[in-house]
């Protein structure tokens, strides 16, 4: 099963067209393995992107270098998935008993 330890979801705020363009450039860098949960659209519309741990540093440096603001929407994707799985199994265990 795919593991997402250390993956973060960043919420990027694009202030103008130029910044939308910059974030769109990121989308084309396949080696970063970015997964856009909400793609780049228009200024003011948030962009949510899951960033694998190995790409985190590079992406954050890129955003900061271009003055593009971001927040961390999900600190660690795997911990959310673990919670979800626990909830499902707890239910299944109760249902079985």
């Amino acid at each position: 099963k795919e593991d997402f330890v250390g993956h973060q979801v960043l919420r990027i705020s694009v202030a103008d067209e130029a910044q939308v363009q910059k974030v769109t450039e990121l989308e084309d860098l396949e080696h970063l393995q970015l997964d856009f949960w909400r793609g780049p659209a228009q200024p003011g519309s948030p962009v949510d992107v899951r960033v694998p741990f190995p790409s985190l540093q590079a992406v954050k440096v890129f955003l900061e270098a271009h003055g593009i603001k971001y927040t961390i929407m999900i600190e660690d994707v795997q911990s959310l998935l673990d919670e979800e799985e626990e909830q499902m199994f707890a239910f299944q265990a109760r249902a079985a008993s």
Partner: protein, 306 residues
Amino acid sequence: TDTFNYATYHTLDEIYGFMDMLVAEHPNLVSKLQIGKTYEGRPIYVLKFSTGGNNRPAIWIDTGIHSREWVTQASGIWFAKKITQDYGQNPAFTAILDKMDIFLEIVTNPDGFAFTHSKNRLWRKTRSITAGSSCVGVDPNRNWDAGFGKAGASSNPCSETYHGKFANSETEVKSIVDFVKSHGNIKAFISIHSYSQLLLYPYGYTTDPAQDQAELDELAKSAVTALASLYGTKFKYGSIIKAIYRASGGTIDWTYNQGIKYSYTFELRDTGRYGFLLPASQIVPTAQETWLALLTIMDHTLKHPY
């Protein structure tokens, strides 16, 4: 199905088992149709809710076309149960089902959904193999014959928005296309995604306004008002291209171009805390509020035959 747990996420087998139970409990109201098979050979099921007549005007609702958006399939299960509970109890809903049929496809991307349980929880696309590429899958919401291949989708098989080699290349899409064309009397088509809290209508592949833009906008406003009345969840609404971004080959652009006027896409909760990893505790409230919006659209469709 009274003891089925609607407040937790379920596997594909559990959902298919639920469907069979519901049909067995309501043989005169619910039937299960198989509209095709997936790329990996799984059956594609649609629940039909009908109180009689032959080929009545119908409403189509689908969930789970993007497999990782689990709150949508979970909401679809809740809708199915709600329909059987409210028919004969809720006068407004009974009036709808006395005159129209409802088709509900709960797991619209079975291969992708099974994969989210077995290998990769964040899988979004189908699981078809693309010749010449090591990447798998097509975005089933970019594969429809409406602006197919234009800006707003990717031609890169490794992209999450890869449109596929040709329109309807995905059997999960082609099965619906064939069903819609053979039925020929669908009057509303509602495709449910998550997240972002949006109610969208055509178009996504062009800035040209839909012919019925004013009516679709007005109805969307009423629907999101009804939705917000339960828990205060705020939805924005508008055309796909205006409300979010350019997206080509999309489901409801194709259904609208088929003449199905009331074509809508929902993007359910939330706005950016969990994204589509919405905790199971929010399944039932999400389904309840969405149902109020669906009722608004279905009621309008009933009262505005065309």
